[in-house]
Symmetry: D2
Subunit: 347 residues, 4 copies
C-alpha cells in the first residue's frame, strides 16, 4: 500500500523529523510539503541532503494527494495557525480525500474552557473538535485505529501520561508530583533567548510552574486510567541543556505498600501490548531513546512511596514518530511499520 | 588576622575549589596541602597554574599550622578515609592547635543507625560524632559560630534543605517530593562509566531512587524547621550533562491556599539574614550561581499547591565555598569574607 | 543473499555501531558476537535493547559462520590484540570460510618501519600484512571489491585523506596543514581522564602534535592521488566536547590561482562516483553526518590559497559504517546497501 | 586612586563581563552604564544580581564622570554604532575628561582600504583613527601606556596574534595556517540561527574561510614582530559548541630545524615580561583560561615544522579583561590590578 503524504509547515523541527521518518517508511510517498519560505526542502533540513530534492509548495497539493487511495495530511504548523488551516482545508475538500494528523496543540483539549485558557489564539470549533481523537497510542489504540482526524499529543504530556497512567490502578493518595525536563528542540526552530546557546549551554532552569499547557492535557489523557477520581497533580517543566529528549519523574504515595519488583511488574503488565514501551529494571536515561519512538520506563518503591521515571525523544515519541505510529494504525498497518530503528548510542 | 590552612586530599575537585577560594581570601595562608600523589599542586589543578607553586605534602604539616594563632584543617578526603584520618590527627595533636572542617560525609548523620546504613565504611566514633556541628550555615549559624569541629554538608542535601526548610512553617500535608539534578563534578575526579563523556554528554538519568545518602541528611537538617513532625519525603537524584551545578525542585501541598507572591515573601523572610540566599521573583537557573556561594531560590503556588526551586553550585555552596563560609563564622570573620564574587555569566 | 557475520570485541563503541547497522542491513545475519565480559549484548549497548537478545560468545562461533556460503568477521578488538587474534583465526580455519575486516590499526600501515614505530605492540606479520587491503573506499574501490582481508581505516585518517586527496592534482606548493578535531567516542568506551565529563565538557585541547599515528596512515592513503611527490604535512589532533563527529580543515597553497567555484567543481568531479561524499557549496558541519556514512566536504579559495573542510561521524564513516560499506563491495552488493539513512538532525 | 568608569552598550556580553570585572577591581567606580533598553543592570545580567542595583542610563553621564580626576569610557556598542557614538562624544566633550577604550572593531584597522572593506558601516574618520592605539597589550605595551584612545582587539585576532607573533623571528618559509575555533558568546547576545542551541549543541562548523575580518587585524598586529615580510596567512574561523573560549592552532615551516624544547624556550623568552601569558610544556586547553585574562600557549616541532597553540577566553583576554588590562596601563596602574583570579576549574 502506498499512502500519499502531505506535510504542512515544512521548515520546523517537527516536519524535519517527519520527513526523516517518511524516508525510512516503506508505505509512504511524500507528495507535497508546504512552507511560507521558498526553497528546497533539504536546504531547510541539512540532515536530509540527498533525500529530498524537491521544493516547498506554497499550498498543499490536494490534487496530487487525491490521486492516492490512501492519503494523510500532517500539520506541523504552529498552534493557532494549524487549527485554522485545517478547518479551511476540510471545508474545501471532499471528506474522504485525506485523513488529518495535527501535531499542534489545537485539538488536544476537549474542555472548551481549558482550551480557551491555554490556547487563546486557536479556534474553538466545538463540533469539529469532538471529531478529533487524542493520539496517545498506548492509551487510545482502538479509538485511534478507527479515526480519521487525530490530535497528536504534546511532548511533555506524552512522557507525563505514560509515566503517570499506570499509577491509576494502584490506589494513590495525596497529590502526585510530575517533574518534567526537556531538551531545546522542544522550543522550536526560531531562535529565542531561552534557546540561545550561551545561556542554554551548561544551564538548567524551571519555567511555567503549575501553569504549563501540557498539564491539563496529560490529566485529560490519564483520567480514564484512574480507578478513582484523578488526584491533584503538581507539574513543573524544566529546560535541559541538550537538544533532544524528555525525562519525567513522577513521585506518588499509595494506599498500600509495594515493592520495587511489584511496581516494575505492574508496569510490564500495563504496557504488555505496547511494542514501543520498554520497561527496564533500572531507571531509564534519555540517550537510548534519542531518535526513536521508544519510551523507556521504570520505577522504584519504598514502603508506600513510589517513583516512576520515563524517557522519550521529544521530536520522536513526543512528536513525529508518534504521528507515524498513529498513521500506521489509522491505515491498518502494523503499528511498528517504519519505526523499529535503534537509537544511535552515544551521541 | 591570618589563618593557617591545611588541606587533606589535595587532588580532588573539592580541594581544587578550596584552593581557588583560598587564593581570593584575604585572611588565609595555605600552609600545607596533602596528597597520596607526589607532584606540584598546580599540575593536579591546571586552572591554578601560577597561583600555587608548592608541592603536595605526604602528611599535613602540623608544625607549620601550630605557628599560627588561628588554624584550620579542611579534609577533602573520601568518605571513610577522612573520618579515620581526622580521628588520628585529633589524637596526636593538642586540641586547640587547629579547628577541623570535614567535607566528607563521615560526620554528618547524628543517628548511628542511619550513619551505619549509609556510610558503612566510615568510623562510628559515637562520642567524637556528638562534637561535630552540622554545617548548613543558613539553618545553624549560631551553633557553627561557636564550634571547632564541623561536618560540612553534602551538595544535594544543601540544595534540598534550603528549598524544603521554609515549608516547615507552612503546614504541609501529604508527602513532599524533592527532585534533585546534579552536574558531573559531584561524582568526583576519578573517571567512571557514569561520568564518561560519551555517555554523560547529551544524556540525563536518574539514580538511587528513594535510596540516596543525602536524603536522611537533609531530613535531619530541616527537621527543626518543621512546626510539626517531618512529613514523608520522596527523594530522587538525577544526573545532568553539565559539569557544575545543582537544581532542586520541591513539590508540596499545604493545609491552606497561598499565592505565589505570599510564598516568595515567606522565602524572603525566612532567609532575610542570609547574604548568600537570593530570593528571586522567577524560578532560578543554575548559570548565575556557578562558581559562587549563592543559592538562588524562588517558588510558585496554585491553590494549596506549591513548588519551590533552588539552584546552587555543587562545588561552591554545595561544598568548598560553604566550607569557607563556615570557616569565616568559626573564626569570627564576616560570613561573606572572600566569597562575594559574581558568577561568570554565560559559560 | 544472507551473509553470516561474526564480531570480535563486542562491547566497545565500534561493535555497538556495527551491531546497530547490522540490524538495519537486509543481507546480514549476526551469528556470533564475542566479548571477554559475559552477559547480554544489549546490556552492554542500552540503545540496542529490544534488537539483540543473545549473549556474548567467549570465542567466535566459526562453525556457525561456516554454514553460510558468505561470511565475514569484523574485528573491533583493540590494537595489538586484534592482529594476533586474526592471525590465530586464519591459521586455524579454512581460508575461504570467512573474509576479515579489521577495524583496528594493526594492518593499516604498509611500511614495516612506520608500523613498528606507531603500533609497537602489534604483530608485524610482514607476509600476511601484504594481503590486507587498505579500506578507504573512495580511493581504493576496485582493490577493495576483490579483496578478502581488509584493514579498515582510522577515523582521523579517513577525514584527513578525503579532504587532502583531491589537492594532489592541483599542484600544491609548500607544506599542507591538516587540522583535525574529534569527538570523545573516538577515545573508546573505557573511562579515562581525557574523556572524563567534567574536564571534557566545555573544553577543547590539542594532543600528539606532529606525532599522531593517523598521520602516516593518511599520507600513505593519499600518496597515489598526488601527481608529484607528497609535500610535507603538518597534522594536529584535537579534542571536541561532543560525543560523535570529526571535522578536518586542510590549508594549502597551489602553484596557480583558483576560484572557490572551481575548487568546489574539482571536488565534485573527484568524488563524482562516490555516493557517500556530499560536496556542499558552503563549509560543512558535523551535525548532518552524525550517525551516517556520509562525508560532507567543501572548500574556499583566495588567490592561490585554498582551505578544504570535511566532516564525518568518527563511529560511522570513520569506523563501523565504512566497514559495512567495504563489506558490501567485498560481497558484490551495492555499495550503499543498508547505509542510506539520513542523520537525526539536531541532536 | 579611583577611576570613574562609564560603559556604553550595557546589555551585551562584553558589558556583562566588564561589569563583573569592575566589581572585582580595587580602583574602579562604575558611574554610568547606558542601554537602549530601560531597566536594572542586573536584570540584563542575572549573574550580577546583588552586585549592581542601578538602572541603565539612556546616555552616558559625562557630568558624573567629570567629577573624577581619572575617568574612562568603555564602549561595548556594536561595530558602526560605537565609532559614531565616540566621535560624537569626543566632539561634545573636553578632551581630557575621559579616556576611551572601544571594544568594537571600529578603530582597529589602520589601512583605510581594509577598514572600508571589512567594516563598511563604520565611520572612516581618518584623522581620529590615527590617534587610536591598537590594544594588544603584549605587543604594544609601551604605546598603550601613553595613549588615551584605545582600539581594543578582536577576540580571534588576539589569540591568533599571540600564537603567530613569536614565529616572526624564527625565519618562517611558505604560508602560515591559522586555524581558529571559538565559543558561542563570541556571536553576541542576540539569538540567531548559528547560536541556536539545537543546532550549536553537539555540532562544529567552519565559516568565512579566508574572509574573516580578524585576519587583516592580526596580520597588522604581528607584522612588526616579523623580521622579514609577513608571509601569506591562511585563516579559518570555526564554531565550537561551548559558550566561552578560543583555541588557535598555527602551523608553520621554518628555514631551519628546531626542537620542541627550543620552541617552548623561544615562547618563554618572547613573553618573559607578560604576566598573563602562561607558556606550558604541553599543548594548552580552553578550560583553565575561562573567566580569566590568561593566554595559555605552547608548541611542538618536528624537523623544520612547528605547531603553536594558544587558548584564551573570548570574553576575557579576547575582550573585557584585556580592556581592563589596557586601562590599568593607561592609568599607570600595575598591569595585573584586579585581574589575577584563577579560572573556575571544571565548569
Amino acid at each position: 500500500m502506498a499512502i500519499g503524504v502531505g506535510i504542512l509547515g515544512g521548515t520546523g523541527y517537527g516536519a524535519g523529523e517527519l520527513l526523516r521518518l517518511c524516508a525510512l517508511h516503506p508505505n509512504i510517498d511524500v507528495v507535497s510539503v508546504t512552507s511560507r519560505e521558498a526553497g528546497k526542502i533539504c536546504d531547510a533540513h541539512p540532515h536530509l541532503n540527498g533525500f529530498y530534492s524537491d521544493l516547498f509548495d506554497t499550498e498543499v497539493n490536494v490534487g496530487a494527494l487525491s490521486s492516492y487511495d490512501q492519503a494523510v495530511i500532517f500539520s506541523a504548523l504552529p498552534h493557532g495557525v494549524s487549527g485554522q488551516t485545517i478547518i479551511n482545508l476540510l471545508e474545501e475538500t471532499d471528506s474522504d480525500t485525506f485523513k488529518v494528523i495535527d501535531l499542534s496543540g489545537d485539538w488536544r483539549l476537549k474542555s472548551l474552557e481549558l482550551h480557551s485558557e491555554f490556547y487563546p489564539k486557536s479556534p474553538i470549533a466545538a463540533e469539529l473538535r469532538k471529531k478529533f481523537q487524542y493520539g496517545l497510542t498506548e492509551l487510545y489504540r482502538d479509538e485511534i485505529s478507527s479515526c480519521s482526524l487525530l490530535a497528536n499529543p504534546g511532548c511533555l504530556a506524552t512522557a507525563s501520561a505514560l509515566a503517570a497512567a499506570p499509577i491509576g490502578s494502584l490506589d494513590p493518595i495525596g497529590q502526585i508530583a510530575v517533574d518534567a525536563k526537556t531538551g531545546s528542540t522542544g522550543s522550536g526552530k526560531e531562535p529565542k533567548s531561552t534557546t540561545h546557546h550561551p545561556t542554554r549551554h551548561g544551564n538548567f532552569r524551571g519555567y511555567k510552574p503549575l501553569a504549563h499547557q501540557h498539564e491539563p492535557e496529560f490529566k485529560q489523557a490519564i483520567a480514564p486510567s484512574y480507578t478513582n477520581q484523578l488526584p491533584p497533580m503538581s507539574f513543573l517543566a524544566q529546560s535541559l541543556p541538550i537538544a533532544r529528549g524528555i525525562f519525567v519523574s513522577v513521585h506518588a504515595q499509595l494506599e498500600n505498600e509495594i515493592t520495587s519488583q511489584a511496581l516494575i511488574e505492574h508496569l510490564e503488565k500495563f504496557y504488555s501490548t505496547s511494542p514501543f514501551i520498554r520497561v527496564l529494571h533500572e531507571l531509564p536515561e534519555i540517550g537510548p531513546v534519542v531518535g526513536t519512538n521508544f519510551c523507556d520506563i521504570s520505577g522504584a518503591a519504598r514502603g508506600n512511596q513510589i517513583i516512576i521515571c520515563a524517557a522519550i525523544d521529544n521530536l520522536g515519541k513526543g512528536m513525529a514518530s508518534a504521528a507515524i505510529q498513529n498513521m500506521n494504525l489509522m491505515f491498518g498497518l502494523e503499528e511498528t511499520t517504519g519505526l523499529m530503528q535503534p537509537a544511535l548510542g552515544p551521541c
